[in-house]
């Protein structure tokens, strides 16, 4: 207990001096045995065959078609609904879609209430039975620091601001929607991150997709990681810059591309690129892996490129005082050109920010689509972010923020260690609160979600379009609001379900050791 507290105290008071340190942990991406891949393809093959059969029956008319179809009079026109692209959706997803879009009727805290729904015609339509499933443990919400809460004392300032400003802003930032509370939040965000200036936007996805076109254009090069989020890819495509993809977290691949870009220049004219922008994320949400920040910063300085860091999942969730991957690796925040993040995950609100040098942010205030056309952030949301930030930074006078960060780190370490011990295959860095458990086979993915719901645990499972076809997974998001009791319950049920469904594919031998943080303490004591 004492050692952990002093660990945090020392880290907070020593500023990031720009000397980057290497992380001790490596990130294994363990491969499953060969028979698992074979069985996955077998499963998909059988479902595809039956999909063709059902399509044939629907076309012939032996079976009722529940999908959208054109009217009889329009059958000779150009088709409105493309049947071929929807093959996977209508023949695989529709059969099992009771595991997604489950309606929640309470706040998404560490436990929540679900509405029970049943289907009479194999998931084409649903009806509610009227019963509510109470106190289902929530392992899927991005509630890393537990700020999705409805405690009246904590939310008092939010209620006051609603009284003062109302709920809607009714304008864009540029016209007449620039409230004083927005300016206050921007100052606080810049202070928190250690940069000159910041700007906030109403929607996290739109922050990426609408601001990247303002930063790069035709004649620029974007080097983006293989596993970047859709918002980054959409923003890159909208900007009309050339996009090249490097292998996930692979510095050799990135360096080779940088060298080639600097040497050869633009494709046909061989003129030098106007700008080279490297786009990476802090924590990748499907893998749980953490970016190799010190190496990327070194590469960027060597080849004179710019760096765009998307800290959607890592801000507030990693680092000894919650400042994200820059603090985790001890990198100077001024080395990163554009720091972007969202308030949806760790702060319990909505929206995003872009932070960096003052000239950059001032430029974005006039040239970004989101700043000019999108409605400004709503006042209660802004106040929620303000109070969450003040809590994390300790400015409200309590140590609640530090306690939550510490609790999240402890929960993460405990959960990951236990899962590895049990024999599941887990991806990702030991520090990241996003834990994907690999399930591989489509039948097991569905059975896992249903079994866990029967045991009163809500999980998120992801399959083919969002992940590679052989790597379907269940993604657990840990929270500071989860107690040790809840985690033990979840682990107990996971153990049982893992045995019932044969999910323990790992071939490594893990011994149960005491907490891994003991190794880092040796450095501080000397």
């Amino acid at each position: 207990e004492n050692i952990l507290v002093s660990h945090i105290v020392v880290q907070v008071f020593s500023p990031g001096n720009g000397v980057a340190s290497r992380p001790q942990k490596h990130e294994p991406f363990e491969q499953a045995p060969m028979y698992v891949a074979v069985m996955t393809y077998l499963g998909f093959g059988i479902v595809t065959l039956f999909g063709y059969l059902r399509d044939f029956l629907r076309a012939v008319g032996l079976e009722k078609c529940h999908l959208a179809q054109e009217r009889e009079e329009q059958k000779d026109f150009i088709p409105l609904y493309q049947d071929f692209e929807n093959f996977y959706t209508r023949n695989l997803y529709m059969r099992v879609r009771d595991n997604w879009n489950r309606p929640i009727c309470s706040l998404p805290g560490p436990v929540f209430d679900l509405m029970e729904r049943v289907s009479d015609d194999y998931n084409w339509t649903f009806r509610f039975t009227g019963k509510t499933l109470h106190n289902v443990i929530n392992m899927g919400s991005y509630n890393y620091l537990g700020f999705a809460e409805n405690n009246v004392d904590f939310l008092k300032t939010v209620a006051d601001k609603v009284n003062q400003y109302g709920t809607g802003v009714c304008s864009t930032r540029q016209e007449i929607g620039n409230l004083s509370i927005h300016e206050e939040l921007e100052g606080l965000v810049a202070n928190f991150l250690g940069v000159e200036s910041a700007m906030i936007y109403g929607m996290g996805f739109a922050t990426n997709s609408m601001n990247i076109p303002a930063l790069v254009g035709k004649g620029c090069l974007i080097l983006s990681d293989e596993l970047n989020h859709t918002s980054l890819i959409l923003g890159a495509r909208l900007s009309a810059a050339t996009i090249r993809v490097f292998k996930h977290n692979n510095m050799h691949s990135l360096e080779r591309m940088l060298r080639e870009a600097v040497c050869s220049g633009q494709p046909r004219t061989h003129r030098p690129w106007k700008k080279i922008l490297i786009m990476v994320e802090g924590i990748y949400s499907m893998e749980g892996s953490v970016v190799r920040l010190p190496e990327i910063v070194a590469l960027k300085k060597k080849y004179k490129a710019y760096l765009y860091l998307d800290e959607a999942h890592s801000i507030g969730a990693v680092g000894p005082s919650g400042k994200g991957v820059t603090e985790l690796f001890n990198v100077n925040p001024t080395d990163i050109d554009v720091m972007m993040g969202t308030f949806t995950k760790s702060f319990g609100a909505a929206g995003g920010y872009i932070a960096g040098k003052k000239e950059l942010v001032d430029y974005l205030r006039s040239y970004s689509h989101s700043a000019v056309y999108a409605t400004a952030m709503s006042p209660p949301i802004t106040e929620q972010i303000l109070r969450a930030l003040k809590c994390i930074m300790g400015k409200d006078g309590t140590t609640e923020g530090l306690r939550r960060i510490h609790q999240l780190a402890e929960n993460t370490r405990f959960f990951r260690a236990k899962l590895k011990e049990m024999g599941f295959i887990i991806y990702g860095n030991d520090d990241s609160p996003v834990v994907p458990i690999l399930l591989y086979m489509p039948g097991k993915v569905v059975a896992f979600a249903r079994e866990m719901l029967e045991r009163r645990i809500g999980v998120v499972v992801v399959g083919f379009p969002a992940t590679p076809i052989t790597e379907a997974r269940a993604r657990f998001c840990l929270s500071a609001a989860h107690t040790r009791d809840m985690l033990n319950q979840v682990l107990h049920h996971l153990n049982e379900v893992g045995d019932t469904l044969c999910l323990k594919f790992s071939r490594r031998k893990y011994t149960s050791r005491p907490d891994l943080c003991a190794e880092t303490n040796l450095e501080l004591d000397s």
Binding site: I46, V47, M441, P442, C502
Partner: protein, 68 residues
């Protein structure tokens, strides 16, 4: 009870078979179709083995000159 244990074990093995072949996601009539196809193909293979195995074994033994 030995019999109920046996039934539970068989039931679990059938469940694993449903999960691995993704029949778990299909409707009951589709499972029936697939299972009957599998059983009929399996039965045909067993029958062919039963009918032709003596001839094959005699041919092998003849080849290795164990029997004339």
């Amino acid at each position: 009870m030995g019999l109920s244990e046996c039934w539970k074990q068989l039931s679990w093995i059938y469940y694993q078979y449903l999960l691995v072949t993704a029949l778990y996601m299909l409707e009951p009539w589709e499972r029936t179709v697939f299972n009957s196809l599998l059983v009929s193909v399996g039965a045909m293979a067993v029958y062919t083995c039963y009918v032709f195995m003596p001839q094959h074994i005699m041919a092998i033994l003849h080849y290795f000159e164990v029997v004339q």
